[in-house]
């Protein structure tokens, strides 16, 4: 469903990777591994369409993603280094405004359910600025637990700042997504007990060349 063709990425005169081609099929979980600076985040941003590769292209159902940005965006959920959580809005408002901006129709109970899943329901009415780093991360990840049509999840270090319970919840969601014919692409530095069979994609050593 997602295909990377001959990708090359250069950041600041340094070539991160070159001639990288791979495909992600439905029901597949892909873990991108590599050292710091190997270009994992850049690769994920390229796959999202946030970053343009210096060469090559990413295809979604055979079409270049920059040609079908909006359709692709609707099929994609991205959690990056930044949580995309507004400090001045409450946890519930954050989810509600996010859903509205994606054109999703969600009720208050669905927001509450997503927050409960990540056990932040008791802070639902707190402004996110008063939450801890890990709790904010959960608010960002709770987007994945909302009813949505996104079949491709791209997660950049999703386990950062999460406690054991949060990791379990996220693992369950990933297993559901992959089991339901979706695809998950993620990076993580932590020893991760994957809930599903994982395809590992190794990126270079990050040395100049």
């Amino acid at each position: 469903m997602l295909e990377a063709v001959d990708l090359q990425c250069e950041r600041g005169h340094r070539r991160l990777f070159d001639r990288l081609s791979f495909a992600v099929t439905a029901g597949q979980c892909t873990q991108i591994v590599g050292d710091n600076g190997a270009g994992k985040t850049s690769l994920l941003r390229i796959l999202c369409g946030l970053l343009r590769p210096t060469h090559g292209e990413v295809r979604w159902h055979g079409r270049r993603i920059d040609r079908v940005r909006d359709e692709y965006g609707a099929d994609l959920a991205y959690v990056g280094h930044l949580n995309g959580v507004k400090d001045d809005l409450t946890a519930a408002e954050n989810l509600r405004t996010w859903a509205a901006s994606c054109g999703l129709n969600v009720g208050g109970d669905q927001v509450a359910e997503a927050l409960r899943l990540f056990s932040i329901d008791q802070f639902a009415q707190w402004q996110a600025g008063h939450l801890s780093q890990g709790q904010k991360r959960r608010v960002g990840l709770a987007r994945l637990a909302m009813p949505q049509q996104a079949r491709i999840w791209i997660l950049d270090e999703p386990f950062n700042a999460l406690d054991r319970h949060g990791v379990e919840t996220l693992n369950r969601l990933i297993a559901q997504r992959v089991g339901g014919g979706g695809a998950v692409i993620l990076t993580t530095h932590q020893a991760w007990q994957a809930p599903v069979p994982v395809v590992r994609l190794e990126l270079g050593t990050g040395r100049p060349g």
């Binding site: 991205y78 995309g84 809005l89 994606c102 054109g103």
Partner: protein
């Protein structure tokens, strides 16, 4: 389609409500700059009445620039902008929604405040009304043009000064026709042509700016 616009506007209005002091600062700046002028040039009533349109308009431009920093920078810093870009909805509509909200929390109150400032400068009724009308037509254009500058300078160091240098020259037509409308009506002429040109500028900016902003944001986020 319209829901995307409304969702973005609603979110930014909600944020504006939470960050009331930021909004108030811009308005306070506007009032203070305008108030400084009589202190500087002396209490000559006729002179003040003559320069009032220019002073109010220049202060409005500066206040508008001051408020631009908030437009995309906060969304960029906390990752909301990425989420908007990947929302699967047209980015130009979300951007337009943000600009509508920006105008509602800066341009609209500026326009309302100008009523008081017109009284302060002892402007006659007709020029005073023209001033308010010109601001009503012109401030949306300031938000639109300013947003292009804000998108272009996003994530740059020293973006604050750069945005001023980029945007102020583009504000010149708005300033000329805005202040010109008030001058015309103070001189007993019809301000209609000035106001129509001002409205035309705003409409043109409304049609073109969202595309420019969208393209600039895509580059800035890289």
């Amino acid at each position: 389609m319209i829901r995307t616009l409304l969702a973005a506007a609603h979110r930014d209005l909600l944020l504006g409500l939470r960050q009331r002091s930021d909004v108030a600062n811009v308005l306070l700046f506007f009032v203070i700059v305008v108030t400084m002028v009589p202190l500087g040039v002396g209490p000559d009533k006729d002179l003040l009445r003559m320069i009032a349109p220019g002073v109010v308009w220049v202060a409005a431009l500066l206040a508008s620039i001051l408020s631009l920093g908030r437009l995309f920078a906060l969304d960029y810093a906390d990752g909301t902008l990425e989420q908007i870009m990947l929302s699967g909805q047209p980015l130009s509509l979300a951007v337009l929604g943000k600009i509508v909200a920006h105008w509602l929390i800066t341009g609209a109150p500026l326009t309302a405040l100008s009523v008081v400032l017109a009284l302060m400068f002892d402007m006659a009724l007709v020029p005073g009304v023209t001033l308010v009308a010109s601001l009503l037509l012109g401030t949306p254009c300031l938000s639109l043009i300013g947003a292009v500058g804000a998108a272009l300078t996003l994530g740059l160091r020293g973006g604050g000064v750069l945005i001023t240098l980029l945007v102020l020259p583009l504000y010149v037509p708005v300033l000329i026709f805005g202040a010109g409308a008030v001058d015309a009506s103070a001189g007993g002429l019809s301000p209609a042509s000035h106001l129509m040109l001002l409205g035309g500028l705003t409409l043109a900016a409304g049609a073109l700016a969202p595309w420019a902003i969208t393209a600039a944001l895509r580059v800035s986020v890289e």
